[in-house]
Amino acid sequence: MDITRRDLFTIGGKILVLASVGATLEQIVGAEPPSDAYKMADHWWGMIIDIDKCIGCGNCVRACSKENNVPNGYFRTWVERYQVEESTGFHGEGKLPKVESPNGAMDGFPPLTADDIKSFFVPKLCNHCADSPCTQVCPVGATFISPDGVVLVDSDYCLGCRYCVQACPYGCRYLHPETNTVDKCTLCYHRITQGLTTACCENCPTQARQLVDFKDPKDPVHEFLRRNKVEVLKPYMATNAKIYYKNLDGSVR
């Protein structure tokens, strides 16, 4: 058979076009729908934290670390102890609060005896922002907001470039020392999708932190938000954080 150069190009072109159409079709049609009782569209997860109930025991930090195999020295959640001196508001008198979090409060805190100063505990974790800066900077789509409102990392797809670590205004992300991919709080996605609460909420002895589902009309969060004065961390960052703090002091950053 006599094939001219023109024929070769024509045939090659046809094959390429067919292959690409086929691959695109396969991509559109072939994606299987998830088939189980959990419907992502029915949930919008968040958390409420009552500062007045936190006793700084560090149970949440230990529980999180065990549940999620968090490497030593890294934290998906941690507790801070604030000591805020009274400020009279004269120029130059505003003092920065003293903030400590020894080993993330993994072993609690050394006792504080100074009774003449305002002090309290602030548990922190990923704020699962609805408009998260971290997911916006990812160059490959390895971190994302799931349809049920949880900010997650695809560790198989993460390059480890750390843009998101710098983008998070709350310091909630770290580079996992073994996998070299970014790791963070998943709001115990493996637990909440099977009807359990997060490890930190499960183990909080005073119910200072509670997992909430904003899309559930029966969830106590609606009453909580109606009855209490609440605030999110760094509201001026316009991240639409979904971790609501009750009685959060203005000094908390």
């Binding site: 690409s20 991509q27 700084g56 025991c57 529980a63 549940e67 695809d154 797809y157 493996h190 119910q207």
Partner: protein
């Protein structure tokens, strides 16, 4: 046909070939299902969900340990979850033979102190003691029954 139309057709063919090549490479490189929910792989959700549990959860413990949960319900520790003191027990709870994965008893010397050691930052109403003065080194469970600690 136009005269000398070859120089129009040839670039058009090259352009089409280039487009085809681009689409083919794109289809091969972009992961399956990418973009189904957003700019990410939907498969990541399933992977994150498949992580095994460490903490079984309150409801699981109560299925067998009804007696202990009743004792606890009568006291101040009613709302403290089992695993908050006893540690992660999913292995114990999900085992075919739970007694083969017997939980170790909590380290009382540190356990109680973490919550109840006196600290000015703790909420006023929360029961706190300076352990050194309170018990003089005696373990808490010498006097207090942990499931219902009131004396």
């Amino acid at each position: 046909m136009f005269r000398d139309s070859g120089h129009l057709i040839r670039p058009a063919v090259v352009l089409l070939l280039g487009l085809g090549l681009f689409l083919a490479i794109r289809a091969a490189v972009v992961p399956k299902g990418f973009g189904q929910y957003g700019h990410y792989r939907p498969g990541a959700l399933a992977k994150i969900r498949s992580k095994p549990l460490a903490f079984a959860g309150q409801d699981m413990c109560v299925v067998c340990h009804d007696d202990q949960s009743k004792a606890r319900a009568a006291g101040k520790h009613a709302k403290v979850a089992c695993e908050a003191c006893h540690g992660p027990q999913a292995e114990h709870a999900n085992a075919a033979d739970p007694s083969a994965h017997k939980p170790v008893l909590p380290d009382v010397a540190n356990l109680c102190r973490r919550c109840h050691e006196k600290d000015a930052a703790k909420p006023r109403g929360f029961p706190q003691v300076a352990t050194a003065e309170h018990s003089g080194g005696m373990l808490c469970n010498t006097c207090h029954q942990p499931h219902n600690p009131h004396l």
